[in-house]
């Protein structure tokens, strides 16, 4: 693989386009050496992504990975991006020199629709006939040479996942711009051609090239409201209305004309290029789907898979977590021994090592969670999960497509909110955006794991599943069910609208590539560590300062002079202690003390800061327990006034419920502002999201605590 080229102006610009889930991002990664997120389901890429490689002729080639699209009719914001780029109307993106259309060899007929549209644009086109191995395994053979004759453009058979055909594609891309420009391969009926001529003329006057104008004129017959890139074309609406009228007089249905003429041509091409061997009536994927998509059994399998994931987070991560905890404790002790007593030593040991270390110990859990999620995505099971959820989604008024963004929300709400771009209807999009942060993201994992590990006993339930795993599953389910309930409220009030059916393509099951899986999990782990080493490190330092200054006056003699008492007094006297006591009345009804209150307040920047703040507070305040793990400190923490344990299982459950609901992530707020339209509208929706989630969090935590007390769980 050639290395990525140095920054600078590219000599050649290649855009990669194709139907969803045809392997565009896999090809992009193979070409550029980048590690763009790939997945075995539609809608993984929602924004243009750019990379580079050095071509065989030494030229620098810029590669643009565009979101998947079934046609050039922009039904959703992500599809609009592809259309604008290909028409040379994209913001900051010049017209590509070569367009690579990734075509799934197994589904040639459906893929050729988009191909036929792009060919008409008159740009140099190369067809990457991908997944020929899967097609051949299914008994489908595509005659690539015949396809070249039919399409009039180069066709490269390839298997992008294995890198087969990638070098050939690079060579063809290098020369494609000098080949004759492709043209429309079929003729319109005479009446249609004459009716569309004025529309084409209008588009050409608006700056469109001849090929693009012809393609757009035909496409726009089935578009009710022309997209943003056509707003500057004067007289277009009138010309279109006149064309529709002329077609109606000629007995031609304008709305279906494009599909009819294209599919008529495509069926001829497929008949001449594709041979199919006799296939078994049911493939292995069909047989697996018979079980996992069963109306009754399917949801139970889904729940069982999720339970296995969460139980393994505790069972498998425990030894690794203990090892990291011991390592961090040793590091703290070693640092404490190396430096003389003073503020810098306290900052290192009680602030940095205690704060960052308390978050880093959850690295094994993060790795296990993402290994499972990536494995399920790569096999194609997540697409089945979306199918299983569709009935439920429709019942609450959400589009079936909403499940993929919600699923992404399990990793992080930011890409989840961005993935709503695949949803065409603005109201469905907004409703999904509003509830994605309720899906428990990986930042909540340290909070859940800390509290469950400290307060939920490791008791076996059934079939190897334990109470800890079940509690974790319950938190994730609570978030998911609440997201659906809140979406139902939005869809019946502020975002009322009809429910649209979802058309979902179920990809064949694939055994994930170990390399892809390892890279993806390593990226996630690296991001977690990087975050701990940047934002959480900085916050830990600031929180240490707030917990250390101003210094309390030292007392001499008696029990009051013991280090533990002095440090507790220092914490109470510090800025953090004062802030904590100021906000304590607000959190007392939930059963929390000022230390929990201040940790919650600090975690408004990011949820896992709750854990690092607790680490810093108990690092500064518990001199006699410096080497103990944070969960041990929490278990034994007692109220200075009453002598009672601060953390009971009831308080821990209430806290977890609070974190299920609370929107404590600045990045999520920022991305909501932008994706909801920016400006006042964007800030307005972000405000609604933040406020309703905070109200839910407070209300639910209060309810859990009060009901728990009534039921006698307070001890």
């Amino acid at each position: 693989m050639p290395p990525a080229a140095a920054p600078g102006a590219a000599a050649l610009r290649v855009a990669i386009l194709g139907n969803p889930n045809t392997g565009k991002s896999t090809l992009f990664n193979a070409l550029t050496g980048m590690r763009q997120k790939v997945g075995n389901f539609a809608g993984v890429t929602v924004e243009r992504v750019e990379g580079y490689y050095r071509g065989p002729d030494g030229r620098r080639v810029a590669v643009l990975d565009l979101p998947g699209s079934y046609s050039l009719s922009a039904g959703s914001p992500d599809e609009e991006i592809a259309l604008e780029v290909l028409l040379g109307r994209g913001r900051d993106v010049p017209l590509p020199d070569v367009v690579v259309i990734v075509v799934d060899a197994l589904h040639l007929e459906r893929n050729l629709y988009l191909t036929s549209q792009v060919i008409e644009l008159g740009l140099p086109v190369v067809v990457a006939l991908n997944q020929v191995d899967a097609a051949e395994a299914a008994g489908v053979r595509v005659d690539a040479v015949e396809l070249i004759h039919e399409l009039g453009v180069p066709v490269i058979p390839m298997v992008a996942t294995r890198g087969e055909g990638v070098d050939h594609l690079r060579r063809v891309c290098a020369t494609a711009a000098s080949l004759p420009r492709p043209e429309r391969k079929f003729a319109l009926p005479d009446a249609a051609a004459s009716a569309l001529a004025p529309v084409e003329a209008c588009l050409r006057e608006g700056g469109f090239a001849a090929g693009a104008a012809a393609m757009e004129a035909l496409r726009l017959l089935s578009v009710s409201v022309p997209e943003a890139h056509l707003r500057g074309v004067t007289g277009l609406q009138e010309a279109l209305a006149a064309a529709r009228e002329r077609l109606a007089r000629a007995g031609i249905a304008a709305g279906s004309l494009e599909a009819e003429v294209r599919y008529a041509w495509i069926s001829g091409v497929v008949a001449r290029t594709v041979t199919r061997a006799d296939r078994p009536a049911r493939t292995l994927s069909d047989r697996i789907d018979g079980v996992v998509l069963h109306r009754v059994v399917g949801p139970f399998i889904f729940l069982a898979v999720m339970a296995l994931v969460f139980q393994s987070i505790f069972t498998w991560a425990e030894p690794l977590q203990n090892g990291i905890e011991a390592g961090i404790a040793s590091l703290g002790e070693a640092m404490g021994g190396l430096l003389p007593a003073g503020d810098f030593r306290s900052l290192l040991v009680d602030g940095v090592i205690a704060g960052v270390g308390s978050v880093l110990v959850f690295l094994p859990q993060i790795v296990i969670l993402f290994t499972f999620i990536q494995f399920l995505e790569d096999t194609g099971y997540m697409a089945r999960a979306a199918f299983l959820m569709d009935r439920l989604m429709r019942r609450v008024g959400l589009h079936g497509k909403s499940f993929i963004p919600m699923l992404s929300g399990y990793a992080c709400a930011v890409p989840g909110i961005m993935a709503t771009r695949t949803i065409g209807n603005p109201k469905d999009r907004l409703a999904t955006m509003m509830v994605v942060p309720l899906m428990s993201c990986s930042a909540r994992l340290p909070v859940y794991t800390l509290l469950i590990g400290a307060f939920v006993p490791s008791v076996a339930l059934v079939g190897g599943f334990g109470l800890q795993g079940a509690t974790m599953l319950a938190m994730y389910l609570l978030g998911t069910v609440s997201a659906l309930a809140v979406a139902a409220v939005f869809k019946r009030t502020l975002l009322r609208g009809p429910v649209r059916p979802m058309i979902l393509e179920l990809p064949p099951y694939r055994w994930p590539s170990a390399r892809t899986l390892a890279i993806s999990v390593a990226q996630r782990a690296l991001l977690f560590v990087r975050r701990a080493g940047t934002v959480i490190l900085a916050l830990s330092i600031v929180l240490w300062a707030l917990a250390t200054y101003p210094k309390a006056p030292e007392t001499q003699g008696g029990a009051e002079s013991s280090p533990a008492v002095q440090q507790e007094r220092q914490l109470e006297h510090s800025a953090l202690g004062r802030v904590g006591h100021a906000i304590e009345p607000a959190v007392r009804p939930l059963g929390y003390d000022w230390k929990i209150g201040v940790s919650i307040a600090a975690s408004f920047a990011a949820r896992e800061v709750f854990v690092s703040t607790m680490g810093t507070i108990y690092g500064v305040g518990n001199a006699d327990q410096e080497s103990a793990a944070l969960r041990e400190k929490l278990r034994t923490e007692r109220d200075a006034r009453t002598g009672r344990l601060v953390y009971t299982p009831l308080v821990a459950v209430g806290l977890m419920v609070f974190y299920v609901y609370a929107l404590m992530c600045m990045s999520t707020v920022a991305v909501t502002v932008r994706e909801a339209g920016g400006g006042r509208v964007g800030w307005g929706w972000a405000g609604v999201q933040f406020a309703y989630m905070l109200a839910l969090a407070y209300g639910a935590a209060w309810l859990v605590y009060r009901v728990g007390l009534l039921l006698g769980f307070g001890g």
Partner: protein
């Protein structure tokens, strides 16, 4: 200068640096929210952005600053 005072000064310098870093991150987050949809949200520090290309750190850093690239799910 005593050892204790020196430690206090070092600690305060680190605290100021950390506070400045957090201020920049907050400012960038708000700025990203105000940019158009073409901008990347993950440059704001959620830590969810895909990794940069292996051999092109300069371009990656520039992209992160301009917020133009690198965000997919």
């Amino acid at each position: 200068m005593s050892g204790a005072l020196l430690q206090t000064l070092i600690a305060l310098a680190l605290v100021l640096g950390a506070a400045a870093y957090l201020g920049v991150r907050v400012w960038r987050t708000v700025a990203a929210a105000r940019r158009g949809r073409g901008a990347a949200g993950c440059a704001t520090g959620c830590g969810c952005a895909p990794a940069a290309p292996r051999t092109d750190s300069a371009r990656s850093a520039r992209s992160a600053r301009s917020g133009r690239e690198k965000t997919t799910v």
